[in-house]
C-alpha cells in the first residue's frame, strides 16, 4: 500500500529540490527512466547529487548517463539492471570502474527480465514468469541461491525451503507441462522512480511521446514517482485526449517543470541529444575519479539550479539548435 504523503488529487508541482528531498532518501531504491541517449532524468539526478543522497540502489533496464553520474558522485551502493552503456558513446565508465574496483554491487538481468520484474510490481503480484535467462549465466548465478527443488507445492508449507535472494530469479517446472523449466523473477517495486517526460499536468497525469521503454511498468510499480516535464499542461488538455495519457495521476507524487530536463540526452518531439556534451561527459568519466569530480563540481555542485547548468553546458543558442534539429526530424 502506497503511503499517502501527497493526496492523490492534490496539485503536485514543486521544485526539483523539494521533490528530491521529500521522496528520495538515503538507501532508497531508485527507478531510473530513460534509455541511452534518450530522455534520461538528468535534472532530477543532478538534484540527488546536489543533495548528496547516498547508499542508493539504482534500478532500470538500460542505465545510462544519470546512473553513471550518481555512481561517479559515490552515491550508489548497488545497481539492478539489464545494461549500462551509452552505445556509440561508449560504456558507463564510472559504473564499470566501480564494479571492477569492487565498490559497487550488481545484479544482472536481461531487459525483458527487468521489465517482467516491474510488470509484477505494477500488477501487485510477487513474481512473474519469463522464458528468458534459461541456460545462461544470468540464471546460473541465481540457481545457486535458490535451488529449484525447494520450490512450490504444499511441500513448501510443511518444510519451508531457504528463501531465495529477493533480487534473483528462480526456476520452476511449468505445472501444465512438467519438465519444462520456467524462470520466475521477483517483483521489483522502487521506492521512487525518477522520469523525465514531455508533458504532465499539475496533479501528475503524464504523457510520454516516442519510445516509452520500461517506464510505464516501472512507474506504476513504484511507491512514489517524481517526474520532470518539458511542459505543464492544463488538466483539461489531458481530459481531451484520455487515450494518450501514459500514466495517470494516481501513481505520481511530484511534478517538476524543467524544460531541457534531459539535456544532454534527447526528448522526443522537443530536442535532439547533444553529442558534444555527451562526449564531454564521457571523456570525464573515462578520465577517472578526479575528472568526474571536476565535471560534477562544474556542472552540478557549482550550479544552484539546473538552468545554470544548461547555460554553462550548452547556452541558449545551442539548446535552440537542438530544438530545431528535433523539429526537422518529427
Amino acid at each position: 500500500m502506497q503511503p499517502r504523503t501527497t493526496p492523490r488529487q492534490a496539485e503536485k508541482v514543486m521544485t526539483a529540490a523539494e521533490a528530491v528531498s521529500r521522496f528520495v532518501r538515503p538507501g532508497s531504491t531508485v527507478g531510473m527512466g530513460g534509455q541511452n541517449i534518450g530522455r534520461c532524468p538528468v535534472a532530477l539526478a543532478h538534484e540527488i547529487i546536489r543533495q548528496r543522497i547516498g547508499e542508493l540502489t539504482v534500478v532500470g533496464c538500460n542505465l545510462s548517463i544519470s546512473m553513471d553520474q550518481l555512481v561517479g558522485a559515490g552515491l550508489v551502493r548497488r545497481t539492478i539492471c539489464g545494461s549500462g552503456n551509452l552505445e556509440r558513446f561508449g560504456t558507463t565508465f564510472c559504473w564499470r570502474r566501480a564494479i571492477e574496483d569492487g565498490t559497487l554491487e550488481v545484479e544482472d538481468y536481461s531487459h525483458l527480465a527487468m521489465v517482467t520484474r516491474f510488470l509484477a510490481g505494477e500488477m501487485g503480484v510477487p513474481f512473474m514468469p519469463t522464458r528468458s535467462l534459461l541456460g545462461s549465466d544470468l540464471l546460473r548465478a541465481a540457481e545457486k541461491v535458490a535451488p529449484a527443488g525447494g520450490l512450490g507445492g504444499t511441500a513448501g508449507r510443511t518444510a519451508p525451503p531457504t528463501t531465495p535472494h529477493p533480487d534473483r530469479p528462480v526456476v520452476i517446472d511449468n505445472p501444465w507441462n512438467p519438465g519444462e523449466p520456467v524462470v520466475l523473477v521477483p517483483a521489483l517495486r522502487p521506492d521512487v522512480s525518477i522520469v523525465h517526460v514531455q508533458r504532465a499536468d499539475a496533479v501528475g497525469n503524464v504523457v510520454i511521446e516516442g519510445f516509452a521503454t520500461h517506464e510505464p511498468e516501472m512507474m506504476r510499480a513504484s511507491r512514489h514517482v517524481v517526474v520532470s516535464c518539458e511542459e505543464l499542461v492544463p488538466n483539461d488538455e489531458i481530459r481531451a485526449h484520455p487515450e494518450q495519457t501514459t500514466v495517470p495521476f494516481v501513481h505520481v507524487s511530484a511534478v517538476v517543470v524543467q524544460p531541457f530536463g534531459a539535456y544532454p540526452t534527447s526528448t522526443y518531439r522537443y530536442y535532439d541529444y547533444d553529442p558534444v556534451h555527451v562526449a564531454a561527459y564521457q571523456a570525464a568519466a573515462r578520465g577517472g575519479a578526479g575528472a568526474v569530480r571536476e565535471y560534477l563540481r562544474a556542472h552540478v555542485w557549482q550550479c544552484a539550479r539546473f538552468d545554470d547548468y544548461l547555460q554553462r553546458a550548452a547556452g541558449r543558442e545551442r539548446l535552440e539548435a537542438l530544438r530545431r534539429a528535433m523539429q526537422e526530424m518529427v
Binding site: G38, S110, G135, S136, P181, S266
Partner: protein, 266 residues
Amino acid sequence: MPAPPGYSRQELMVIEAARHVRDGDVVFVGTGLPLLAATLAQRTHAPNVVCVIESGVIAPRVRPTPVSVSDPKVMYRAVRLGTLREVLGCLLQRGLVDLGFLGGAQIDRYGNINSTVIHSPGGMKRLPGSGGGNDMASHCRRLLVITRHERRRFPERCDYITSPGFLDGPGARERAGLSGDFGITVVTDLAVLENDPETCALRIAQLMPGITVDAVRAQTGFAPGVAPGVREVAPPAPEVLGVLRDEVDPDRVYLREDESVSAARR
C-alpha cells in the same frame, strides 16, 4: 579523403549480413552495423522487412544514421512507438521475431555470447551486460552476429554466457527450456561462420575474398570445421554498394573510409 575505388571489407561485411535478411522477416535490431545491414536489406532485396527496436519502436522508416536505440532517427515514422514490453515481450518472447542481430565481446564454439564480463589474469573487465541480447538469443529463430575476427573474441568457451547459443551442443537448448529451432550466422572480416546442423558448433561457411581457412583458424580460439562447398563471399553488386554508401550511412558514421578490401589484413 575520397571513397576507395573498390569496397572495404567492412562494407562487404554489412552487405553480406544483409543477404541473410529474408523479405518479410521481422528483424530485431540495434544500432551500428546491424542496423545498416537491416536497412540495406530493406532498401534492396527485402522491402517487406519489419524492423523492431527494443526501446519500443516498430517498423520505422529509419533515417540515416542513428547512433542509439533511443535516437530519434531510429523512430522516424514508425507504425508504433510503445514500450519495451510490447517489443521484447509481445513480439520477441511471443515468438514473432524471425531474426535478431546481436553483438558481444566473445562468441564461442557453440555460438554462446558474452557481453557481461571478461576474466583475465590481470583481473576482470566489466562489459555493458545483456541488454536485450539474452532475450534475442533465447527467442529468435535465427541470430546474426557481425564482429571483427580476433582470436580473443572467439574463445573455446565464453567466460560468461550472457546470451545462449547452443550452450553445450546438441540438445542443450531444449534441455535448458529453450527452443531448438535455432540457427546462428556470424559475419566477420575474415569469414562467414554458421552452426553445423549436426554438432551445433560454428564452422566456416564462406570466406572473405583472399582469406584462407588457415587464416581464419589462426584467428579463432577453437578449431572451426569447414562446411561442404565453402566458397568466397560474393562481391557486392554496384547498386547495393551505392545504396549502402548513399542512403544507409551517407555520413559514414559507422562505415570507415580507411580500409579497402585490398588493404585489409590477410
